[in-house]
């Protein structure tokens, strides 16, 4: 799952980004509302973390604008104002959740996971697709009754496929998930990871859609 972080305080943004990356969330960062809109147009994100106190004052109108445009991405608002009116305004404008600064990293991660769960119409954080079980809380993966060890990027890719079964995940998306916008990648890197995943879950794991990307098929014929 990729997170888009909109925060104009660079020190804070850097801390959040580092923390989320360590918890297997590829995080892109921008500082202004306008960048958020264009980022959502060009890439797919699992959730947006938006600072409500952007210095250009654009946060609230931005949420309304996104929702009016039909954007359904879950939005978690960060606010330095522990004020009920501000929270209500943000939620009414279309935000899905809020977190007051200073917050605990674990809480941020759990809330993001919960937002994704709700967005994907799940009731728990145990994904179970095509005989693979993946626990998003403890990152434990089981296949054919055995624990499977995953590298960081394999976990990111597997989670992405399992969260979107039977949906094509584009090559670009997968690359960005693994390496981010400014990641220095070899075009074959993603294929290498997919190859490794296939070794662990069998050759039929994820179908290649030629020229487009990959897809995890939930039911084998």
């Amino acid at each position: 799952m990729r997170i888009l972080l909109v925060e104009d305080d660079l020190l804070l943004a850097d801390g959040i980004r580092t923390a989320l990356q360590r918890l297997h969330y590829q995080t892109e960062h921008c500082t202004r509302g306008a960048e958020l809109v264009s980022a959502l147009k060009t890439s797919e994100f699992g959730a947006v973390v938006l600072d409500l106190g952007l210095s250009d004052g654009s946060s609230l109108p931005l949420i309304e604008q996104l929702r009016r445009a039909g954007q359904t991405v879950p939005i978690l608002v960060l606010t330095a104002l522990d004020d009920i009116d501000i929270k209500l305004q943000a939620l009414n404008a279309g935000a899905d959740d809020y977190l007051c600064k200073p917050f605990d990293l674990r809480e941020l991660e759990v809330r993001l996971r919960v937002l994704a769960r709700r967005h994907q119409d799940r009731t728990d954080d145990e994904l179970n697709v095509a005989g693979i079980r993946l626990n998003l809380v403890n990152q434990r993966c089981q296949f054919a009754g055995r624990d499977v060890t995953l590298t960081n990027r394999e976990y990111i890719l597997l989670r992405e496929f399992m969260q979107h079964p039977d949906k094509i995940r584009s090559r670009q998306l997968l690359e960005e998930l693994c390496y981010g916008w400014d990641g220095d990648i070899d075009s074959n890197a993603t294929e290498v990871h997919i190859h490794n995943l296939r070794k662990k879950f069998g050759s039929s794991f994820v179908k290649t859609v030629r020229g487009v990307g990959y897809m995890l098929v939930s039911q084998h014929d």
Partner: protein
């Protein structure tokens, strides 16, 4: 000393009335006594004359060997006070024993006497009034010598009658004063109580007003206390404004401290989770710069709080060259060396102001100039006098575009978009503005292309 005005009024008015009543009663008493004396004295004289006419027709009287005694009925004194009509008995009146008369011969031999005075002489043989003061026989009498019959005629009245009467008068007066006083005190008390109702209402409203929601008092008050209410309302208004200001300050401060706190917490957690030295070092650096930012923010907040509460007391002439040079000397070396400083200030130019506050203004403006100016660019500080105005101009280059609405630059915690990478709390210009307006001076900020100009205009005294 009695503290309550109500008690003072009630007591004071009661005392004055009591005094007036007592004086009036005393005067009344003596006047009544005098009138009674006059009536009784006249009666005694008249009785004597009546006796004279009566005894004239009794030629045998002077020759009597033993005096003729006129009986006086002995009537029991009633203990209870009864109406006068009930005391008028068929047998006579109990007071008859207190009134007597005597007829004596020229040499003083008693010829005729009322029974109650048969053993005593009412008065010596001399015409006119006489007051006998023997303890057991106290009589006031009138004596008359009738030339025709050559007889002394004396009519007397026991002093006890007049004493009793005066006692009645006194006790009557005392009773009257007491009853009047009692009635008046109750009425005065009620009246004062009524007059103080608005004051009580004022007290109650003040007692029940909540310190968190101070409402102005709105009681219909008499003209004497109405100014107190309006003074209280002015005070309440000032307090509310002050509280609102403090509340806003606390809200602003807590809001602004939350972000650096979040940074500290996040990076601290990152340190504990980091698996390599580079990540750990990055988090440590972030924590250090965030804590520096916090301490800058706290000191700026303190400065703002001080300025908010400050009134200018003593102004002194402050030399602008000295002020600028001393402030520059206090800048951190890195900031001082970052740009070229160009001073164009006449050595004699000075403004009236509070030195420590103007130091804060200069420090903030010079700090901003060097922070926002590109490295090795030039910061100019000029000061000149014209039209009784002293203008201090701070100019620096800047690649950053200021907010078109320059007014917002002096808002608390406001930071121009795009300036986030430059450290600052967004309080400097707000503090400058506060201090400048304390000095009755003006602050103007403008930007032309890359040149940012901050102008302070002081009025020359």
């Amino acid at each position: 000393m009695i503290d309550s005005i109500k008690t003072r009024i009630v007591l004071g008015v009661n005392l004055v009335i009591l005094l007036v009543l007592v004086i009036a009663s005393v005067v009344d008493y003596y006047r009544s006594l005098h009138e009674i004396d006059e009536v009784f004295d006249a009666q005694l004289a008249q009785t004597s004359r009546l006796l004279a006419r009566l005894v004239e027709n009794d030629p045998g009287l002077p020759d009597r060997l033993s005096p003729l005694i006129v009986a006086v009925p002995v009537l029991e004194q009633q203990l209870m006070e009864v109406p006068s009509a009930l005391e008028r008995l068929r047998e006579g009146h109990k007071y008859e024993s207190q009134i007597g008369f005597q007829v004596r011969s020229r040499d003083g031999r008693l010829l005729l006497s009322s029974a109650n005075t048969s053993n005593t002489a009412l008065a010596p043989l001399q015409t006119g009034y006489f007051e006998r003061t023997d303890p057991d026989q106290q009589w006031i009498s009138f004596s008359l010598f009738d030339e025709t019959s050559q007889l002394w005629l004396q009519a007397g009245q026991h002093i006890a009658v007049r004493d009793e009467l005066s006692w009645y008068l006194v006790s009557g007066q005392i009773g009257q004063v007491l009853v009047t006083m009692l009635l008046l005190s109750v009425l005065i008390y009620l009246l004062v109580q009524h007059m103080f109702t608005p004051v009580d209402a004022l007290r109650q409203q003040l007692q029940h007003s909540s310190p968190t929601a101070l409402q102005p008092l709105d009681i219909r008050l008499p003209a004497e206390i109405a100014p107190v209410q309006s003074a209280i309302n002015t005070l309440l208004d000032n307090i509310s404004q002050h509280l609102a200001q403090e509340k806003r300050f606390i809200a602003d401060a807590s809001h602004e401290l939350r972000t650096p706190l979040a940074i500290l917490r996040l990076h601290a957690q990152n340190i504990s989770l980091a698996d390599n030295d580079a990540d750990r070092q990055k988090a440590v650096d972030a924590i250090i710069s965030s804590s520096m930012r916090m301490s800058h923010l706290v000191s700026q907040l303190m400065a703002l709080a001080r300025v908010d509460r400050q009134h200018l007391h003593q102004l002194s002439p402050i030399n602008l060259v000295q002020l600028t040079e001393e402030t520059l000397a206090q800048l951190p070396p890195a900031q001082l060396d970052k740009v070229d400083w160009q001073l164009d200030i006449s050595p004699t130019l000075s403004v009236q102001g509070d030195y420590s506050l103007l130091r804060v203004v200069w420090r903030n403006l010079l700090d901003n100039a060097s922070k926002y100016a590109p490295a090795d660019s030039c910061v100019r500080i000029r000061a000149s006098r014209s039209h009784q105005q002293i203008r201090c101009v701070f100019e620096n280059d800047s690649d950053l575009v200021l907010q078109p609405d320059k007014q917002r630059l002096t808002d608390r915690f406001y930071r121009s978009p795009g300036h986030q990478q430059i450290d600052g709390a967004g309080l400097g210009l707000s503090i400058v503005k506060q201090i400048v307006s304390l000095h009755q001076a003006s602050l103007h900020i403008s930007q032309q292309q890359n040149l940012v100009t901050v102008t302070l205009s002081f009025t020359e005294v």
